[in-house]
Symmetry: C2
């Protein structure tokens, strides 16, 4: 961190043309932070342009201002523009937007892996979300608020801390969320939209749960993505892992995904046991509580081998 | 409200024998509030006895002190005991515990339907949970805290406001939750336990979702509890309604439950439309957004009739 909260205020007041961006594959924190800062700059009478090099998931459709987010080829800049990079650790995370960065850069981020690349940066790794940092700043600056800003930042914070369920939820996280509700954020409106799922996704969930199995007296849970299941779910299966993790009594959860008759992709999650060690046996890796590997084995055989390695360590 | 926060402190300090109770069918707020006040009284060196006239759902097993909650027949009192009734609107809500109420009563509650029955009461209908009130009190009293109290009250608040998703979530709710995390509450530990579901329940969910249908271009969603589905889910099907409500684009959700070949039970939920009017057509009733009725028709026929009545009003 090389500038203060007050210096950021001065900086944003100083520039008249400001490019706002966030990381590719934008999540609720990236989108919510982007929109909130854009709304705030509108209130200051600034020309601010939002750009993200990716499609925005339609689950965020309810957020006010979303239609003003551009793709990189819709925007032109020169070196008189300030670029604000939100919720991204480096210029490598903003895709083609990098070619629009011609002037100086301000980076506001909360990731521990931040690359400290910007002229000015405000990196708070003690915050659960970039939205938490922006709330802190707006509050400190005694800013004007509107409902759009408050909803966007509540979305940003809530999605990054799993609606105050993850262990990154601190007293500060909750106090910043409180400020947002005071300023008109609508938790019910936001959560109704975020929790909405298509009929297809719910039918896919039904199919996935059919293939949920337990091993070792329920201490190990497993989801199998057979070709038949993948036909319904599509390739994006990340959201189902939580159902395996949440099985009562499960200490380690894993998924096996069909790649071919001789190749199976494995993802592992644990509540404490070292699954990195399990993945390493098969040439994979990751972290203690989250790891992955690929086995040159058919799905059923891969599943048995993984169960055996987990059982050794439980 | 006929006494102040400070008077409650004086009252609890004054009595040496204190009976703590909460409503039957205890939820997270009832149990969490009960345990937290019990832990606090332990810290004060008081003899406090917890009693609830009901079984405690095993999803709360992770809360410290749960094993000290008694059934009414395990407890004896006399008129020197103070009874503290938590999260209950009247003595009619505490079941057989009523027979143990021999002395004076203090009621701490947040329900708008409170019957104002106690000698002393602290009823705060602006709070989302009784746990929110207790957090406020302990904080005001500059109390000692332990992790057990903090976890119990975070559970109380989070379960009553749907993890800060419901419209009863205020800035105050979030600020009280912040105080709890400051004092050691563990959102990840708590949510992992609350979200845990048995394999049987997940398999039942899979079966229920198989029977999810949409009507009227997706504006109406319906879950059918056929005899085949009920065999797997059991009679307690309330928890599945949210899946019908959360279907993207759905404005009215309803369930049809098989009672007999000539009788079907219907539950309706809406995001605005008057479903009470729909239920009334078939002799049922409820509220604008939540209503129910029973039709002397087979399940499939009942479903069609309900869809027709909803379509008229959408």
């Amino acid at each position: 961190m090389n500038c203060s909260a007050q210096e950021i205020y001065t900086l944003l007041r100083h520039y008249d043309k400001i490019l706002l961006t966030a990381h590719v594959s934008p999540d609720g924190d990236a989108i919510g932070s982007l929109l909130a800062l854009w709304h705030w700059l509108q209130l200051q009478g600034k020309k601010a342009v939002m750009v993200i090099d990716d499609d925005i998931d339609d689950r965020y459709d309810f957020l006010d201002g979303l239609q003003y987010i551009n793709k990189p080829d819709q925007v032109e800049t020169d070196d008189s523009w300030l670029t604000v990079v939100l919720d991204a650790t480096g210029l490598g995370r903003i895709g083609q937007v990098e070619s629009l960065v011609r002037g100086k850069v301000l980076n506001i981020d909360h990731h521990i892996s931040n690359e400290h690349f910007a002229q000015w940066e405000y990196v708070r790794t003690d915050c659960a979300a970039t939205g938490e940092i922006l709330t802190y700043l707006f509050d400190l600056w005694h800013s004007e608020w509107n409902t759009a800003m408050a909803d966007a930042l509540y979305t940003a914070i809530a999605t990054d801390c799993g609606f105050f369920k993850f262990n990154n939820t601190t007293g500060h996280t909750l106090r910043m969320a409180a400020i947002l509700v005071d300023h008109g954020a609508r938790p019910d409106f936001i959560s109704e939209h975020l929790d909405a799922r298509s009929l297809e996704k719910l039918k896919a969930l039904s199919k996935v749960l059919e293939h949920l199995e337990l091993f070792d007296d329920g201490r190990i849970s497993c989801l199998s993505y057979t070709p038949e299941v993948l036909k319904i779910t599509g390739e994006h299966t990340g959201m189902y892992m939580d159902y395996a993790r949440n099985v009562k009594g499960s200490e380690v959860a894993f998924t096996v995904k069909y790649v071919s008759d001789k190749e199976t992709r494995v993802s592992l999650r644990s509540k404490g046991m070292d699954v990195n060690a399990v993945a390493a046996v098969f040439g994979g890796g990751g972290h203690v509580r989250a790891a992955g590997c690929t086995l040159d084995k058919p799905l059923d055989e891969a599943k048995k081998l993984i169960v055996k390695e987990i059982e050794k360590r439980l």
